[in-house]
């Protein structure tokens, strides 16, 4: 029983078909890689899954046995689907602690008006949540920066915080949009270690978009390849690596054609 399933997912912007008929299944407790050249539709795919974009008619998205097609982003988040962004989108002026507290928002038990009528209960619950969030911050190594604004963190710390904010939601599934972008190879390795530890600790299913193929190949059980908005290949890292369609997509058609011509001339 897949945790996430899309059928005939499609999205066009004007004349541009960004995603066409992508059907994909993600099994629970796996790490699923999503790769493809720039502009192949990976980020659009994430935006469709999380409700940032509305899919075109005929699409179907099911998450955790709930039809979430065309549902608003906050509804999908409430179902337990969390994500990070390529450009992080942290709440720069909010403190590190407040950033993860916002991540916890879907589990807030009191009404938005409670501060007016029941301040004591609000403070009691918030203190409990803060303790939990502090543990999370300690785990990702940001506890001592809890009170400083997120904008003042270093690049690596900001990536960790983005991860922490996504985890704070206690999601069932986590979508990671290029978690290693802009990090040095050593930092990428340690980040991936953190991610895998988080996966075990919080019982997560992970879908990861990544350009660093080494990372994808070593951590993912299944890999789907997108090119020009279409799924061109899917399977184990070994299978995908040797799929001619994937090689063509990455090296370019002309080059492949030249190879074929060269082969014919010979």
């Amino acid at each position: 029983m897949p945790l996430l399933e899309t059928r005939n997912l499609r999205k066009s912007f004007g004349g541009l078909q960004a995603i066409s008929d992508v059907s994909l299944k993600v099994e629970p407790n796996t790490v699923h890689g999503l790769i493809g050249p720039n502009g192949s539709g990976k980020s659009t795919f994430f935006n469709l899954l999380t409700g940032v974009y509305q899919p075109d008619d005929g699409s179907y998205i099911e998450f955790n046995n709930v039809d979430v097609t065309g549902k608003p982003a906050h509804f999908i988040a409430e179902q337990g689907l969390s994500r990070t962004f390529q450009l992080l989108r942290l709440y720069g002026e909010l403190s590190v602690l407040d950033n993860v507290l916002v991540g916890f928002h879907p589990h807030t038990k009191y009404s938005p008006f409670a501060p007016f009528f029941n301040g004591g209960e609000v403070r009691r619950q918030d203190n409990l949540v803060k303790e939990e969030m502090f543990e999370l911050l300690e785990f990702i190594g940001l506890a001592e920066h809890a009170e400083i604004p997120a904008a003042e963190l270093s690049g690596g710390q900001r990536r960790l915080l983005a991860l922490g904010r996504a985890i704070a939601m206690r999601p069932k599934m986590l979508l990671l949009d290029e978690p290693g972008a802009g990090l040095s190879p050593a930092n990428v390795d340690s980040l991936m270690d953190t991610i895998m530890t988080l996966k075990d600790r919080y019982d997560l299913t992970i879908v990861v978009v990544e350009h660093i193929l080494k990372v994808v190949m070593s951590t993912c059980e299944t890999i789907s390849v997108l090119d020009h908005g279409q799924k061109i290949s899917e399977g184990s890292p070994e299978f995908v690596k040797n799929d001619p369609a994937v090689i063509e997509a990455y090296l370019g058609r002309e080059m492949a054609d030249e190879d074929i011509r060269a082969a014919m001339d010979a």
């Binding site: 988040a77 909010l94 507290l101 916002v102 609000v122 918030d126």
Partner: protein
């Protein structure tokens, strides 16, 4: 810096004993103000203090929607007008002066009703925020706010050009809040309670949701925040503040309302308070309200003559200070407050670390 720090230490110490102690102290501190003002200066300054309290309510409310939630609204003064006129009309005697509407309600029933009606109006002013942002939202809300004033100005039932007169003052038993001093206790209490609740909102999940929307709307929605709901909620909460300020303004001595109190100039004055205070900072907004209200009062009648023609100084001064503020002090007074608080936190943490190492060695 020294005095400020020891004051802050003192307040922190009080707050540690009980959360409400600093508020109680502030309240007690403000109790004798009318007598101090009347003795040292004159009775008129109590009226100014009352209007400052109303401006504080307005600025703190505007800060919720603009500062916390990041929604640019220029319709706040229209909500203030709705609160004022509703409460006035509900309490006036039927068949009053100049064809004004009147329902003869008791004041204490009219004020909450006016607040509820203003909250609904706030919802309507907030509706454009679902689709519009920034300057476009400002224009839409400006239109709504200004049309409220024009509607009042052309409707005899709501006072039109003569205004509403003889609006009754609230009373408890035989005690009537019809003097500057007695009314001061009413509006001062409202202002303090308003500031307190503004902090309660800011420090709850509601306040964090507002700020998340301000910082990054897409990230907020992906974090499970219903952006439409919370934007509208911010407008409604700020409208509650504006409605209360308006209703209290209507019944304030001398019980007279005129649509001139709700012009775009008033709105700009209000914005100036929030900008000077530092957008998003509650105490900054309060200080901004006090400073700008006093400046407004002092420059109101200032005129100089240019080539024998009178030039009113106030719009020049206010417009220029707005430009200068945005250019040279974009974080406003709130920026200083935040820096001060951060320095204190930093010093405290360093001291903790030092004492920890001292213990260990």
């Amino acid at each position: 810096m020294g005095i400020l720090s020891s004051m802050a230490d003192f307040i922190d110490g009080l707050a540690k004993r009980h959360r409400l102690l600093p508020w109680l102290l502030a309240y007690l501190f403000l109790l004798p103000l009318p007598f101090v003002l009347a003795t040292l200066f004159n009775e008129y300054l109590i009226d100014l203090a009352n209007r400052i309290c109303l401006f504080i309510l307005l600025a703190v409310g505007l800060n919720i929607v603009k500062g916390f939630c990041g929604q640019v609204t220029v319709g706040h003064i229209g909500l203030y007008a709705i609160g004022a006129v509703t409460s006035a009309v509900l309490t006036l005697e039927p068949g009053g002066f100049g064809g004004a509407l009147g329902f003869g309600w008791p004041v204490w029933a009219a004020i909450p009703t006016a607040v509820v009606i203003t909250a609904f109006a706030g919802l309507i002013v907030g509706l454009p925020s679902v689709r519009l942002e920034g300057a476009y939202l400002a224009l839409a809300t400006l239109g709504l706010g200004e049309s409220v004033r024009i509607f009042i100005a052309v409707t005899p039932a709501l006072g039109s050009s003569t205004g509403l007169m003889m609006i009754p003052a609230p009373s408890i038993g035989s005690f009537v809040f019809d003097s500057f001093t007695s009314y001061y206790y009413l509006v001062m209490t409202a202002a303090i309670v308003g500031i307190y609740f503004s902090f309660s909102i800011l420090r709850s999940a509601t306040g964090r949701a507002f700020q998340a929307i301000r910082e990054d709307t897409i990230a907020a929605s992906v974090n499970g925040i219903n952006v439409v709901k919370y934007k509208l909620l911010a407008f409604v909460l700020s409208a509650i503040y504006a409605g209360l300020a308006g209703a209290l303004f209507a019944h304030m001595p001398p019980g007279y309302l005129h649509h001139n109190n709700f012009t775009v100039i008033e709105m700009v004055t209000l914005l100036l308070m929030v900008v000077l205070g530092g957008i998003g900072n509650v105490w900054g907004g309060v200080i901004g309200a006090i400073v700008v209200a006093i400046a407004y009062d002092q420059t109101k009648d200032l005129v100089f003559y240019f080539m024998d023609r009178p030039v009113v100084v106030q719009p020049l001064v206010f417009g220029l200070s707005m430009v200068l503020l945005v250019l040279f002090m974009p974080r406003g007074i709130g920026g200083w407050i935040e820096d001060f608080q951060r320095n204190r936190r930093f010093i405290r943490r360093s001291e903790e670390r030092l004492s920890a190492t001292a213990r260990n060695s």
